[in-house]
């Protein structure tokens, strides 16, 4: 099954989004990588790296993140994981995480989930 990493500047936000996905997709491997190891807001290369490894399988890992350094640091982690199947998705964090984990739970591949995620940004809430 595809695994997921939620990257945020906020540790609480990353954990909150991770918890939220459990409501509908309890068995999907997902790890939070939020905040800095020494506390405070920020994105940590080591936390993201370790989180990807903790949910990694041959099916791959999709990283979802908030903005700025979360995007750039995730990008650097992916570059450091040469040869591993790790990608990042450009989509709203909460809606994307719920959509993607439900997709994974239903057995969709990384490629199929990425396709689905590309449409999440254009979905209207009302």
């Amino acid at each position: 099954m595809v695994g997921f990493v939620i990257v945020s500047h906020s540790e609480k936000l990353a954990e909150g989004v991770t918890d939220l996905t459990k409501m509908m997709a309890e068995d999907v491997p997902i790890a939070a990588a939020g905040g800095l190891p020494e506390g405070g807001f920020g994105t940590s290369f080591e936390r993201i790296f370790d989180a990807v490894n903790s949910v990694y399988s041959d099916d791959g890992v999709i990283i979802l993140m908030d903005m700025g350094s979360a995007v750039m640091t995730a990008e650097m982690v992916i570059e450091a994981m040469d040869g591993m199947k790790v990608v990042m998705a450009d989509c709203p964090l909460v809606e994307g995480a719920v959509t993607a984990t439900c997709d994974a739970d239903s057995g969709m591949s990384l490629e199929e989930i990425m396709e689905d995620l590309s449409e999440v940004a254009s979905q209207k809430k009302f």
Partner: protein
């Protein structure tokens, strides 16, 4: 020419300068960003300085790459991947050299700038560190072509970087956290352009 020992010494001095000015840089970032620039950069350079004993006698590429790794791993804000990539690219360009001159420095700075552009998907005029880096590089090249004087070239670069910082006060941020402020970002200088200018100042004062 500047040898590897001098490069290491300058890198440590850059780290000390950032540590000294961390509250100032953070204050600049408080106004238009998320208020972590100075403290984050100081944490990254602090990690680099702790590795200095292992870097004695290493080639210039290894020294710059070590700085890039420390900044990537320890900063935690956007300046981490940006300066991290800049120093990693600079290190790749310096390679196994144990001595560099102004022409090498120009190539190293060019590589650093390309790294920032690639990582940040940014160009000049967006109120970022590039608004100090790019004019500095251009001025260094221009002055060196004209006078063949390395010291003068670096000084011209520093003057251009300072002008670049002033220029960032006049424009709207369209990249990074400051872009959320739109027009409210006008009137404030960019923290990244400022920290780059501080780095170049340390280089100027020490070669």
């Amino acid at each position: 020419m500047v040898n590897q020992d001098k490069v290491l010494e300058i890198m440590v001095k850059i780290g000390e300068k950032i540590e000294e000015d961390k509250l100032f840089l953070t204050e600049l970032d408080n106004v238009i960003g998320d208020g972590d620039h100075g403290i984050n950069m100081a944490r990254g350079f602090g990690d680099f300085i702790s590795k200095v004993p292992d870097l004695q006698g290493k080639d210039i590429g290894a020294i710059l790459k070590a700085a890039g790794m420390s900044l990537t791993m320890k900063v935690g804000g956007a300046s981490g991947p940006l300066y991290g990539t800049a120093y990693l690219q600079a290190g790749k360009t310096a390679g196994d050299k144990t001595e560099i001159g102004i022409e090498d420095f120009i190539q190293i700075l060019e590589a650093a700038i390309e790294g920032v552009k690639m990582r940040g998907k940014a160009v000049t005029g967006e109120k970022t560190m590039l608004d100090a880096m790019v004019p500095a590089l251009d001025a260094i090249k221009e002055e060196y072509d004209a006078s063949k004087d390395a010291k003068k070239a670096l000084e011209a670069g520093l003057a251009a970087a300072k002008e670049g910082v002033e220029y960032t006060k006049t424009i709207i941020a369209t990249k990074g956290r400051a872009s959320y402020l739109g027009e409210r970002s006008i009137g404030h200088q960019d923290p990244g352009a400022t920290s780059f200018t501080e780095m170049l100042q340390v280089i100027c004062e020490n070669v």
